[in-house]
Symmetry: C2
Subunit: 394 residues, 2 copies
């Protein structure tokens, strides 16, 4: 565990213990200068010529190739762009494309809502007999049947941190002739990932990857399938010859066809800085350190905060990189804890959520966080009006 933490690479405000990297990672110290350079040196000096001369046009593929090893993917199988919601739509449309005679989209009720919402929108748009079926996470494998076109799951539950077994579920999906989509939003950059032959995967870069608020998403297509997909979102940058300005769409080569519109160049500059850090991260060690920190946190909270009930799986092998506790007055309690500069977050109805990201957290942080949380819980300092008013927090 010698490589962690890499605190010197990130800016964390003085005195803050940041346990919310599972929602938005902190800023890499190198980001402001790199983005400044993109703004003045590229946009400012090159203007339109930046698309070629600064390599903006190739960035979605270049960045995809840097994300690939983080998610256990082959080279040239990942494209960056858009938002995770859009990439879910793209992946799901592609999956139905690959499995046109079946109607059931199977997911679980622990999936992040936008995945389910985007499926609803796609189904309504198609207007045929497709059905979105959501079951309890434990029941997914049993519910994969001969009518299942696609199994679409988020690997790590955003509320509880429960971790799906990608291999077992992907195998079950394939055995039944279903296509598998993994949403890696809460696992990319949290642990080594086994795509297990899944056809498609999507994920975001502003959580564990630390690329900044609104950083673009990514999509993975298994290389043997990429040329078979007719993209639903057939934008000009996914065209085989975008600058020929042909009247008809011809899909680009392989993963290139999953590009849609003009890529967000400033956000991509930020993503590049974030990915530079990942070149030197050993994911197995990262995961071990994350488990170590999480276990230490759970032990500390359970010893000092009897009102909090572990809502995450106790077995670290069944969890992602976050730990959640249930508490009826969790929203107010989290506000009080945040006011003490320990940053976690709250997810309705009663989940207090904490993320453990070894890149910028160590044992000292964990112990300090436990102490502050215990003080808030013991003193019930959350029990005042200013913490009891509900606000939206992402």
């Amino acid at each position: 565990m010698t490589q962690f933490p890499k605190k010197n690479l990130f800016y964390i405000p003085d005195g803050m213990i940041y346990l919310d990297g599972n929602s938005l990672g902190p800023i890499p110290k190198a980001a402001p200068a790199a983005i400044q350079n993109m703004l003045t040196g590229e946009w400012g000096e090159m203007l339109i010529r930046g698309w070629n001369n600064a390599g903006w046009m190739a960035q979605p593929s270049n960045l995809g190739n840097q994300i690939a090893p983080i998610i256990g993917a082959e080279p040239d199988s990942v494209a960056v762009g858009d938002t995770l919601s859009i990439k879910v739509f793209q992946a799901l449309a592609a999956a139905l494309n690959l499995n046109p005679d079946r109607c059931k989209i199977l997911s679980d009720n622990g999936n992040f809502p936008t995945d389910l919402y985007m499926a609803e929108g796609l189904i309504r748009t198609i207007g045929k007999n497709h059905q979105l079926v959501t079951v309890d996470p434990e029941e997914v494998i049993d519910q994969i049947d001969a009518d299942t076109a696609v199994v679409m799951l988020t690997q790590v539950d955003y509320r509880t941190g429960r971790l799906h077994d990608t291999k077992a579920i992907t195998n079950a999906a394939h055995a039944a002739g279903a296509v598998m989509i993994w949403d890696l939003a809460h696992s990319a950059g949290a642990m080594p990932i086994d795509l297990a032959g899944a056809e498609l995967a999507v994920g975001c870069t502003y959580k564990y990857l630390n690329a900044g608020p609104g950083a673009p998403a990514f999509i993975y297509v298994r290389p043997d399938l990429a040329n078979k997909i007719q993209p639903a979102l057939s934008g000009w940058l996914g065209h085989d010859a975008p600058f020929a300005f042909e009247q008809n769409y011809r899909p680009g080569k392989a993963i290139e066809r999953m590009r849609v519109g003009t890529p967000p160049v400033i956000q991509m500059a930020s993503l590049q800085v974030a990915l530079d850090i990942w070149k030197n991260v050993n994911l197995t060690e990262l995961r071990a350190t994350s488990v170590h920190l999480s276990e230490r946190f759970i032990a500390g909270i359970e010893a000092n905060c009897p009102d909090l009930t572990l809502a995450s799986p106790r077995d670290p092998n069944a969890r992602g990189s976050q730990v959640s506790f249930a508490f009826e007055d969790g929203y107010a309690a989290m506000q009080a804890i945040i006011d003490r500069n320990v940053i976690g977050d709250f997810r309705a109805p009663n989940i207090m959520r904490f993320g453990f990201t070894p890149l910028y957290l160590d044992e000292t942080d964990i112990d300090a966080a436990v102490e502050i949380i215990a003080e808030v819980m013991t003193s019930k300092s959350y029990n005042i009006a200013k913490y009891q008013t509900r606000k939206a927090v992402t």
Copy 2:
């Protein structure tokens, strides 16, 4: 014309005459500091709390409300996000939603290809009898019939600058019971716009609005219809209560439902700087100045470059803010001109394109550009190998 140019607000490299603001606007001088402040002061210091405390979550609507007056739209009718390709898809799906019993999508062969490509993808996804019909720009009105579900046009042709009459065409569409979508990519920020009661409009912010490479797009929905649309791209940030994390999608109020995923916060900071400038721009004066500069350019080129043939309408009222000339060896000629620091661009097969944006151009620039272009054309200095190799330029 006293208010133009506003050259002091933009950075243009020394000696460059930038006639490509119709493709990518130059950087506002205030952008680097404002973005730096967002990075360090907001992402850096606030981290996850930036969504509320720095107002990131409300930015798509706030920015939309600043774009509204530029495109002649009502307050609370514009949302910012995604790319223009995605917004075209959204608008077209919404239009078909509003006109479910008709099958024809009418466009013209001067539309920007991604609009046509996205229509193709939507039609394939729906899998019913919808048909994309593209006709010559002059024939659009005659081709609107009782089967036309939607007329989808880009107001200003990206190659020739030909300007559609929004009022005449929108009226014709409505008279036939069709829904009207205007793509304002090449008109937003180029001239006053008359939406003429069109149901939907889309546009981008990195051209005349100067928000930077990959800046987000926008979508307009006529306020009386916004609550009737069931979004095809039903993402969580278009949900009525995104942070309730409900299992089912319930569309948000009015234009809010056209939001999809997490907005690109860094790009939005850049867009905010760009829109600050537009608060003080009189669009009628802007248009008059643009026409004046364009006429001066055309006169200069026609007097000095007999090899170039005007490919734009001669009547300035029938043109947008760009002027194109046809020339068989136009790609090479444009490379030679760019090498002399006059920046226009090339569009296949033979179009040399120049944009006239009064915010940072004046008569002196036009005269200097004409002189350089004339030198290149007269000397045939483009007739050497390095200019004859074809490269993609956006």
